[in-house]
């Protein structure tokens, strides 16, 4: 009992210390990018229906109400970049880049980037492109260079009782509810989905380290 009280007290302190703490996958986590086309919500990497392939998902511009989704657009000045480390040093060996242009999402890579780190340029020629699927329309799939590509609005796949967590952190509740309430139910994101043969990723010992970046034109 005492232990639990201590834990809750420290949770409350932690909540106060960090100010308006928001706990989500990555939704609106960064003061600079919140509400912008560069705001990442989630990264997923998983085995495809064809087990020889991996799927990379980049979700951005989260917490969109259905009424706002039809007008949501990708940004021609925002590079969406999957960074892939295939030799376990946490430095990208390959990038898969997506950039929006005139109704289409163009994909570059997977390719070794000409420089690593925070600054990037578009690498080489496009390997695939796809028209952005409009809100309410059937899925448009693009192919090229062994890749399969989708870009457009989707349901936010993330699920979490964010509001109860905030109450716990704020010292206003002691535990989660059962059942909880998914704060992301009924909201949409803009998704970029790229499916790629594993053989193009040159994983050492079957292992990859992946991170997602959004980069703004400078």
């Amino acid at each position: 009992m005492k232990k639990k009280k201590m834990l809750l007290a420290s949770l409350a302190i932690a909540g106060i210390t960090v100010g308006g703490l928001v706990f989500a996958a990555d939704h609106i986590d960064s003061p600079t990018v919140t509400g912008q086309s560069t705001d990442i919500t989630d990264l997923y990497v998983f085995r495809a229906q064809d087990p020889n392939n991996l799927v990379f998902v980049a979700n951005t511009q989260g917490l969109m109400a259905p009424s706002a989704t039809g007008a949501a657009m990708f940004d021609a000045n925002t590079l969406i970049e999957f960074n892939i480390d295939n030799n376990n040093d946490n430095v990208e060996d390959l990038v898969i880049q997506g950039i929006y242009n005139n109704g289409k999402m163009k994909i570059y890579g997977p390719v070794k980037p000409s420089e690593t780190g925070g600054r990037s340029k578009i690498e080489g020629a496009a390997t695939a492109e796809v028209a952005v699927t409009p809100y309410g329309s059937d899925v448009i799939i693009g192919t090229g260079g062994g890749l399969k590509v989708f870009a457009g609005p989707r349901d936010d796949p993330f699920f979490f009782d964010l509001n109860q967590f905030k109450k716990i952190i704020g010292g206003m509740a002691t535990s989660f509810n059962n059942p909880g309430t998914d704060a992301f139910a009924g909201t949409n994101v803009l998704s970029l989905v790229v499916e790629i043969p594993k053989s193009m990723l040159n994983a050492s010992n079957g292992k990859l380290n992946v991170w997602l970046e959004t980069k703004k034109k400078i």
Partner: protein, 174 residues
């Protein structure tokens, strides 16, 4: 004929504009893009990084995250759970911190995908993985995952729409 009516300063200006346009073409300077946001594992920045550091963490390359943030992550972990000993993965506070602070999503090209299912640990992140329960359990659940039972699951166990078995896998928008 009209050209001759343009005053010489304007001609000069036009010349400069043309020259600088030519210069840019010859430089062939590529367009660069600079990191604004990044993420890998869900909720890491939001849980373990202070408000003041969020933008910095979002623009720190993964290979230098450990040096820059490990001590802060450990302090945050112990603030969240002062009773932390080890977790379900057997990781001490230092070991767990070291895993968390380098924010990359480990993915396997051989194993089935799961954030954590008891067998597969960090072989990627599938759409239906209950990543929040995994993280809450690893933070609050102690060595057996059974401590602080009110804090180890948010009891939201799935998405509000079914995923597709085929490309592009995500559900249609609401």
């Amino acid at each position: 004929m009209k050209l001759f009516s343009i005053s010489s300063p304007m001609l000069l200006l036009a010349g400069i504009v043309m020259l600088s346009a030519c210069k840019k073409d010859k430089d062939n300077t590529p367009t660069y893009y600079q990191t604004q946001d990044q993420m890998a594992r869900p909720a890491i920045n939001t849980v373990f990084v202070s408000a003041a550091d969020k933008d910095l963490f979002n623009t720190t390359v993964p290979s230098t995250m450990n040096a820059a943030f490990a001590s802060k992550f450990k302090a945050r972990l112990l603030a969240l759970n002062p009773g932390y000993t080890t977790n379900l993965l057997g990781l001490t506070a230092d070991q767990f911190t070291n895993v968390l602070v380098t924010d990359v999503l480990n993915a396997s090209t051989t194993a089935p995908t799961s954030f954590y299912d008891g067998t597969n640990v960090l072989t990627g992140r599938a759409l239906a993985d209950d990543v929040i329960d995994v993280e809450l359990t690893l933070i609050f659940g102690g060595p057996n995952g059974t401590a602080n039972p009110g804090l180890t699951s948010d009891h939201v166990n799935g998405n509000d729409k079914a995923f597709s078995e085929s490309f592009p896998y995500l559900a249609t928008p609401h």
